[in-house]
């Protein structure tokens, strides 16, 4: 068991997850907001935008991550240079983002739907503009739900990184796979798995804790 390799793998997984999550949220959060607001109950109902965006999101959600990576190989080639991305996990960011932004969009849409419609209407009646309702009412009232959704998202992105790691190399899950499948180091495999479990556990539990902590609805 090479502990340096393990450390490297943990670092790769964490970085891959963090960077993809950030970029995926930069795209997924606005997408979710538009999905919600273009729907019938939203601030600016628009069937065309809602249908188009909804279809795109559904398509990305229905293609498994592994296939997305393959589909995105030409794009990855253009960005990172043909062939040069093998062994560099960061070249997997594009398909990882593609796989996760749609998931995030639906999560965000769901969280916003949970804000009582009456609150939105009351804000309107108090003279709030649509933009103000999004930033000061919807996002702020949905914060607890958004945070627990955030934790769920990160955990599924950690799952996606296994595919990315498998194709491009790097990360804990691939390390576990290599040790257990190609190698004979079952102990090393279990150590890797243990670390994955610990990371997931920490993220999920702290997400839930934070969500409950900031939620002022139940006391």
């Amino acid at each position: 068991m090479n502990w340096m390799n393990l450390l490297e793998a943990i670092k790769d997984t964490l970085l891959m997850t963090t960077i993809s999550t950030i970029i995926a949220y930069l795209i997924g959060l606005p997408t979710g907001i538009i999905l919600y607001n273009s729907s019938k109950k939203g601030l600016k109902p628009n069937k065309i935008i809602n249908t188009i965006l909804g279809t795109i999101v559904n398509i990305f959600r229905s293609i498994p991550c592994l296939l997305l990576i393959i589909i995105f190989i030409p794009v990855t080639n253009v960005i990172f240079g043909k062939g040069s991305w093998s062994g560099n996990w960061y070249s997997m960011i594009v398909p990882l983002v593609a796989a996760s932004f749609a998931f995030i969009a639906r999560m965000v849409e769901q969280s916003l739907t949970e804000v009582p419609y009456g609150v939105v209407e009351a804000s309107k009646s108090l003279g709030a503009s649509n933009l103000q309702i999004v930033t000061k009412v919807l996002l702020s009232e949905a914060k607890p739900s958004l945070i627990s959704g955030f934790a769920v998202t990160i955990v599924s992105i950690i799952g996606y990184t296994s595919f990315a790691g498998y194709i491009a190399g790097g990360g804990l899950i691939v390390e576990a796979f290599n040790l257990g499948y190609y190698g004979t180091n079952k102990f090393g495999m279990w150590i890797c798995i243990l670390f994955v479990v610990i990371i997931v556990q920490i993220i999920q539990e702290s997400g839930l804790y934070l969500s409950k902590r900031i939620d002022k609805r139940r006391k």
Binding site: P116, G118, V119, E121, A122, L126, K136, S140, K216
Partner: protein
């Protein structure tokens, strides 16, 4: 001095069953300082009406004119349907609204909830002036010690008080109340109504209040409009409408739940007290005329500190007793009117 004039307002909704008319040619005149009640059974369009007033709902046709005053002099009158987005947001700051479900921001404290409308103005900063204003409002609604509480820690009545303070923070001229006491128990409901009355008196706030209970209108309104079949069937001063309901819809609302006795074959007399009567009328009739009367319905309410009331009594059987009674009422200057059982029956049956 007119502040809001609604003319021929019509609103329809499309549904699976076709086009449904919710407001049918509604016209109302609301004066500055009024507490104007709009009453009707559920589904008659009351809420839609009030939502049209602050454009949460757009009417299909008709005009709503809003008049601004400066020191009791007309500044301008605007047709609210042609306001630009920004003008509309400013209009909504002058015509604010409270709701049945309070609709507070659950993740914000009482203080932040009241502050919320202020934060919508460009370049708002929480300065001492704003803090003082919010604290004044907290005091006005009686929640000075709940400043840091969250809505989930408040009772229904307290939540509505926060909503009222929030609606007042931009110094509105009109407050729209959409069934604002319907989710509250009777005692709390009355305390909220009393608060609204206080705001009307102290701030000169014009209030439009939607309700389905007569008790709400009786308690605080000076004017009332009765909606039935999506139309205004009666409107005017509360005392006048309540003492002399003309339409069946109005009668059934006013007498609702009061008369349970079968009234077949009995002759009824309706007595009206217009604020001047101050003696025990029924007791006097029994003592002085030596006639036994039974009360079928009685109700009284206070408008502008005067007691108004009406009573429906069964007429005595013998003609000479009836004459005696009428003579007595004439002497005492109590207004009376014979009403037929059919007429009353009709309005009760619709319940």
């Amino acid at each position: 001095m007119q502040i809001l004039s609604i003319q021929n307002l019509t609103k329809t909704f499309e549904s699976e069953k076709g086009i449904i008319s919710v407001l049918d040619n509604i016209s109302l005149e609301i004066e500055k300082g009024d507490i104007f009640g709009v009453i009707g059974l559920s589904g008659v369009g009351k809420s839609t009406l009030v939502r049209c007033i602050n454009l949460l709902e757009k009417a299909n046709s008709g005009v709503i004119n809003y008049t601004r005053y400066i020191n009791d002099k007309i500044k301008d009158t605007v047709d609210i349907s042609i306001l630009s987005n920004e003008e509309l947001r400013n209009y909504r700051k002058e015509v604010s609204m409270i709701f049945q479900d309070f609709n507070l921001l659950n993740q914000k404290t009482v203080f932040e909830n009241i502050e919320f409308p202020l934060t919508l103005s460009k370049g708002y900063k929480r300065n001492q002036e704003a803090i003082n204003k919010i604290e004044r409002l907290l005091k006005l609604v009686g929640l000075e010690n709940k400043k840091k509480a969250y809505p989930s820690e408040l009772s229904g009545g307290q939540k509505q008080r926060v909503a009222i303070a929030r609606a007042l923070v931009n110094n509105p001229k009109i407050l729209l109340c959409d069934e604002c006491t319907s989710a509250l128990d009777p005692t709390t409901a009355f305390s909220i109504l009393d608060l609204l009355q206080k705001l009307n008196k102290e701030l000169g706030l014009t209030i439009i209040i939607i309700a389905h209970q007569m008790s709400v209108i009786e308690r605080i309104c000076n004017k009332v409009a009765i909606l039935a079949d999506h139309k205004v069937v009666e409107q005017g001063e509360v005392a006048q409408v309540f003492l002399n309901p003309k339409t069946n819809a109005a009668k059934s609302l006013i007498y609702s739940g009061h008369i349970r006795t079968k009234l077949h074959d009995s002759h009824l007399l309706k007595l009206e007290f217009n604020g001047d009567t101050d003696s025990p009328v029924v007791a006097n009739i029994i003592q002085e005329c030596n006639i036994l009367v039974s009360i079928v319905y009685a109700n009284s309410f206070v408008v502008d500190d005067k007691i108004y009331g009406q009573m429906i009594i069964k007429l005595p059987y013998y003609d000479n007793d009836i004459d005696k009674l009428k003579k007595y009422l004439n002497i005492k200057k109590i207004k009376y009117k014979e009403v037929s059982t059919d007429e009353l029956d009709e309005s009760f049956r619709s319940h």
